[in-house]
Amino acid sequence: MAHYDSVLDTIGNTPLVEISELSPNPRVRVLIKLEGVNPGGSVKDRAAKCMIEEAEKNGSLGPGQRILESSSGNTAAGLAMIARVKGYPFTVVVPENVSVERTKLLLAFGAEIISSPAAEGSNGAMRRAQALAKEHPDWFFSYQYGNPANPKAHYEGTGPEIWRDCPEVTHFVTGLGTAGTIIGVGRFLKERNPSVSIWAVQPPVGETVEGLKSLDEGFIPPVFTDNDGYELVDRSRVVGPRESIEWSRRLTEVGIFAGISTGAAMAGVAKCAKEIDEGTIVTVSPDGGWKYLSTDVWTGDIDAVVERARHELYF
């Protein structure tokens, strides 16, 4: 094991693990990249580090300047951790219905938390952060949904790591949030091998937490649209909460304790594996399960857990 000068140097270079024993098709291999081993606990450490370092380089972030973001948890944790190490104050708008572990983690790293209404979802948190950014032009608003450094982190990190570790990849299947992972990795892999198929996995929008008054308030991340996401992505499947939770539980059979977005990604992998004759699927586990223990995802009655998923932000 190498010696690292800073914990920030341990971000990335995550393990890619073969879990083909969970593949529903014996002719399809499945490998999963475990991003939960990043020091802030998720794949979002990559984007957080890249957004901060790019801002430092281009002068939009300087010593002592406050960083602002909206996040349902993982980007916030990555930014909070890095901001703490680098000495930046950090304010984050978080929907009030995220799991308690996430807010406590942010407080541990010294973040200032502003809660946004549960009923407004991630969209509401983002709108509040945008308003705060206007009120405080001296703050650095990292804006993960539109910051080119977000997909850049994956184009320069996650993508090359997957290609290095598994050049035989035929399908890349990943969850869709800010679209940073799918844009960055997808573009890198397509440049290396245009026949690699890129599949997006979307969790359904909760009926009680969709937070919109009309469709016109909907939102597609500029990271997706500015980077020709519709052309890059080959297929997009939506997965339900029950299958996501079931897959989160199944992953423990191979020793992987991962968050519910990993279960959702695996539900998408299973659909892909059933549809193709043969191939090698690579997917991403965005985070570990630790921040979701209070939700009883692994231990509770599954009907009760699915019902609770209607009201709590699990991703």
Partner: protein, 115 residues
Amino acid sequence: MVIGKVGFGSATSLGRACGTLGGAVTVEVRLPNILRPMAAGEPIVNAEGDSLREVFDDLVRQYPALRSSLLTPDGEMHRHLNVFVNDDDVRYLGKLDAKVGDADTVTLMPAVAGG
């Protein structure tokens, strides 16, 4: 991101029970909260058509108030409307030309942020 009450793959709809009528395919269409007031408050409605375009045309015929939420003035899909045939996003299946079959469920969802 948010996960919610959408239950894919259930097969207990009136649409399925009706089956084909005069050769046209009947599908079940699931509406999000924000579109239900434009469809008499119904969470699930039935529509006929062999393609998504025909299904939308039938929906608009039944519930004219839905039109501006489904389609742009130019007749394209609304930018912030995600449409799934069963669990497959139609933006990658030919959009309005996506084919639908008799046992299919069409699910409409607003595009929202995650992360």
